[in-house]
């Protein structure tokens, strides 16, 4: 099988399982940066070695459990779930909370979604945004990060966090309400 950009993740998984384990490299190419960024946002480690170790561990777990993948479902949700669980376990072991770096936040999208003026957000120092998002309870922060930083759909977030879609919607909505309250209070 010729693997190219149009080959789906699920096709690569099938090929890797049944014929050529070398094709796993294609999955690493596709997801390494995404997973590393996601883990970095959740964990924000001081030591970059920890980030590389966690990223590598994600792919080790992915490879070991490749035979459990249901190719009728999205592979991306599955790999994000593995990354999420590893990151959360790492944080628990280190007794740390999820702490994100909002430097690459899509200001315009966030402004319209939480219904405050874009220029208010333009004035924000990076630290104020970080602080506001970091103050969110973890149960709101996780789906919020997956939606606004990873650009995932509610269906995908539901698969990753193993929560009903309505619950995900509610959590993101509450996250936005709390953020709006905090950011508007600072600048009004």
């Amino acid at each position: 099988m010729q693997i190219n950009e149009s080959t789906t993740d699920e096709q690569i998984v099938k090929f890797c399982r049944e014929e050529d384990k070398e094709s796993f490299g294609f999955l690493i190419d596709r997801y390494e940066l995404k997973i590393k960024c996601y883990i970095n946002r959740l964990v924000n480690p001081n030591d970059k070695e920890d980030l590389n170790d966690l990223t590598q561990q994600v792919f080790i777990n992915v490879y070991k459990n490749l035979n459990s993948v249901d190719i009728e479902k999205k592979f991306s949700s599955w790999i994000y779930r593995i990354a999420h669980n590893l990151a959360v376990n790492w944080l628990k072991a280190k007794k740390e909370k999820i702490s994100i770096d909002a430097s690459d936040i899509l200001v315009g999208t966030l402004a319209s979604d939480i219904d405050i003026k874009k220029d208010l957000l333009d004035k924000e120092l990076k630290e104020e945004i970080n602080s506001a998002i970091n103050d969110l309870p973890d149960k709101f922060k996780e789906p919020f990060i997956l939606k606004y930083f990873e650009g995932l759909s509610y269906d995908e977030i539901s698969e990753i966090l193993k929560k009903p879609k309505n619950t995900i919607g509610t959590m993101i909505s509450r996250a936005k309400q709390q953020l709006k309250k905090k950011l508007v209070n600072i600048y009004e």
Binding site: I28, E32, Y63, K64, N67, K162
Partner: protein
């Protein structure tokens, strides 16, 4: 993008330092989980049926018409060991259901209500069948002493225990 992670991983894969878990393990896990769920449901159906039979055969609900002190007798007469076992299996059911993907597709409370409703339906069906009477008859006639079952059906599920409270 770091090529070292990919390079390191692929080397480990080629050398078989990391290998895929066999497919049959995941199939066995899934079958085990499905079997565990089915078994838990079946056990709960029969436990609930046994509880209903105990209530009926001891006339506990009829006695509620006879005054306040009967409530104390009722509470005294309930099969608390059976109730505890039912609660334990309900907790197991809760844990096992959460292992399945369907458990997060809908609100969990609705899923639990559906399961409990189904269990109550089938246990009521068994309760109204001849099952309990047949089982009790067989246990009375049998020379074997089956732990818990014999004591429960032969000794505890009868009017005698209720009558003794009035002496």
């Amino acid at each position: 993008m770091s090529n070292s992670i990919k390079k390191e991983l692929m080397q480990k894969i080629r050398k078989d330092e990391i290998s895929m878990r066999a497919r049959w393990l995941f199939v066995a896990e899934r079958l085990g989980l499905q079997g565990g769920l089915a078994l838990t449901i079946i056990v709960l159906i029969f436990l609930l049926n046994a509880f209903l039979y105990y209530i009926k055969s001891n006339g506990l609900l009829m006695s509620l018409h006879f005054g306040d002190s009967i409530w104390q007798n009722l509470l005294h007469s309930l099969p608390y060991d059976l109730i505890l076992i039912i609660i334990a299996f309900a907790i197991v059911l809760n844990i096992v259901i959460k292992k399945f993907d369907f458990s997060y597709k809908r609100p969990f409370i609705l899923i639990m209500i559906a399961f409990i409703g189904t269990i109550m339906f089938f246990s009521t069906l068994i309760f109204y069948s001849n099952f309990n009477h047949s089982l009790r008859r067989n246990l009375e006639q049998s020379m074997m002493d089956i732990p818990f079952l014999t004591d429960f059906y032969v000794n505890r599920c009868c009017m005698r225990s209720m009558c003794q409270n009035f002496k």
